[in-house]
Assembly symmetry: C2
Homo-oligomer: 334 residues x 2
């Protein structure tokens, strides 16, 4: 284990040197001198980096140069220049996981600090809200979970999901140049199709949340034909909307920055500013909607969203009713 740590450190150091010299070669001799290790040791790290997908040219007299980085969510690709204080600072990367939420909850139960991030290339048992699944194919999306430890009671937790929806929307806007809309309570859409789901779970006493896990699944580069048939009509990805690939690395970085900024705002100034931003992006406000719960459904005018996240519907007779859960659809003329 300790040996593994040492090796990982060296690998990152070798990579840092290669990055530093940009498109130029850096000589093996210089790498040895600056890292204080043998040429054999360097060569071992170069090979290990190549195995991880880094393209590194080795020229007999010139040395090494970096010609390509892998499309992986390695911490060494995300943390440099990230600029957050705590979001993503404890970084848990996996090639494959059943569910990032499950892993994050396990880590949080063992004391993982606020802002701990679990990210994986694929989920084999990705979960959505209310026991549904979440399609999470390898290398095509952002499947990640954050551990939060706000000092709140369980009833104060629902805004976190809305905060996450704003963070994802803002990050997508900046990185992909696409402006998503939020469908109450927390689906994120482009062109009327869903490309992101959020699943917030908590571990709590009656008076106090021990920790929250916010899971976010973003369909980034999933080609249309990869989706299972039952999702084809309702799901999309940034690739499908843009017509070109979007950097998952840049998206994750920006997401962590947006999330940290919004989270700070929430804890320091209350939910008002975050809610305002949420409303600005919401596509299910000020329009006629139908809301369905397992037992009933109502049609009305989506008038507002309250501080606790409840959707307020106004009915033709002027009465109002607020909903804390349900499936919303826009009403269109038949």
């Amino acid at each position: 284990m300790a040996r593994g740590m040492v090796n990982a450190l060296k690998k990152s150091e070798v990579l840092a040197l290669l990055r530093e010299s940009g498109p130029e070669y850096v000589s093996g001799e210089e790498v040895c001198r600056r890292l204080g290790v043998s040429r054999t040791a360097i060569w071992k790290q170069i090979r290990a980096l190549r195995e991880e997908g880094y393209a590194i040219e080795a020229a007999p007299r010139s040395g090494y140069r970096l010609t390509g980085v892998p499309d992986r969510l390695y911490s060494r690709e995300i943390l440099p220049g990230l600029g957050t204080e705590f979001m993503g600072r404890s970084f848990y990367y996996h090639e494959s996981l059943d569910s990032t939420n499950r892993e994050a909850a396990k880590l949080a139960g063992g004391g993982a600090p606020e802002g701990s991030l679990v990210v994986t290339e694929e989920q084999t048992g990705g979960r959505g809200r209310l026991g549904r699944g979440w399609f999470s194919p390898r290398g095509l999306g952002l499947w990640c979970s954050l551990v939060l430890r706000p000092g709140i009671s369980p009833g104060e937790a629902p805004p976190v999901t809305m905060l996450a929806a704003v963070a994802v929307s803002a990050a997508v806007e900046k990185v992909a140049g696409v402006s998503p809309g939020i469908k109450w309570p927390n689906d994120i859409l482009v062109r009327g199709k869903k490309f992101c789901g959020i699943l917030t779970e908590m571990n709590a006493e009656m008076e106090k949340v021990n920790f929250l896990v916010v899971g976010m699944g973003v369909n980034v580069n999933t080609p249309r034909e990869e989706f299972p048939p039952e999702l084809a009509d309702t799901a999309t990805s940034l690739l499908q909307v843009k017509g070109e690939k979007v950097s998952r690395q840049e998206l994750l970085k920006q997401l962590l920055r947006e999330f940290e900024a919004l989270y700070r705002t929430w804890l320091q100034s209350g939910f008002g500013p975050v809610l305002a931003e949420w409303k600005r992006r919401c596509v299910t406000l000020n329009c006629p909607v139908r809301i369905s719960t397992p037992r009933e459904s109502w049609e009305g005018w989506a008038e507002d969203v309250a501080e606790d996240g409840a959707l307020i519907l106004r009915f033709p007779d002027g009465s109002r009713r607020s909903f804390v859960s349900g499936e919303v659809s826009l009403r269109t003329r038949d």
Copy 2:
């Protein structure tokens, strides 16, 4: 594992036969015949039962008879004649555990059904509310946790703790003949000292509780001198109040029965009937109290408790305020 199961079964069967014959001897020959095993096999089970604390006399010509059962919370002492439908039906007994809540949460996460019970002779890391500890010495108390899966939202969970307080109070009243009082929100007292603590924890999505774990710690037979000095003034046990030992086995059985009945009432008829029972036992209503939160403290008249468990104080100017958490103390004349 399969072999262990077979042995455990045989042990219970041997014990059942011994119980059946009451104070009379049952011949080894009869045991062999009725259970269809050899005398050597019987003798092995008798020895195993003795190791678990059962007193079994073996007389050369007469056979065996049971002269004493151990003061342990074995499932085979609790389940026969229990009469509940689901509370305690999945029974997890441990000689020692760090925390029954932690173990129950682990089991619930793995799918343990509603009513699953974790019970232990001692907790090495017993926990109370808000990160406090809970003194749980070996063999002297009831340290147990129940898994519940009501179909509710996180905000609807707090009544469960009040329900547990009523269940413990009712069981103690019936088994020990002592009438406890409940101090808001959920301490249970006799003669002004605490003998039971309740810690409810939950695992939830924002809209839906996945499971609740209700941990109950009851100081049953803890002698005064066993308590750590810092607890001596505020803690007590049923032994101290009664002046004699109370059966932990009978108490656990009655607790499971009371809990199941109250839980059914809650789910079928709402919290009203349980709350009425809670109020009847409450010692912090209709009296002057001081309530302290980490930041402030108030003095007022404890007028009522709302359906969600909030304590409603009336102040001298007639205004009212409700509290969802805080430490309450009775105000007495100086």
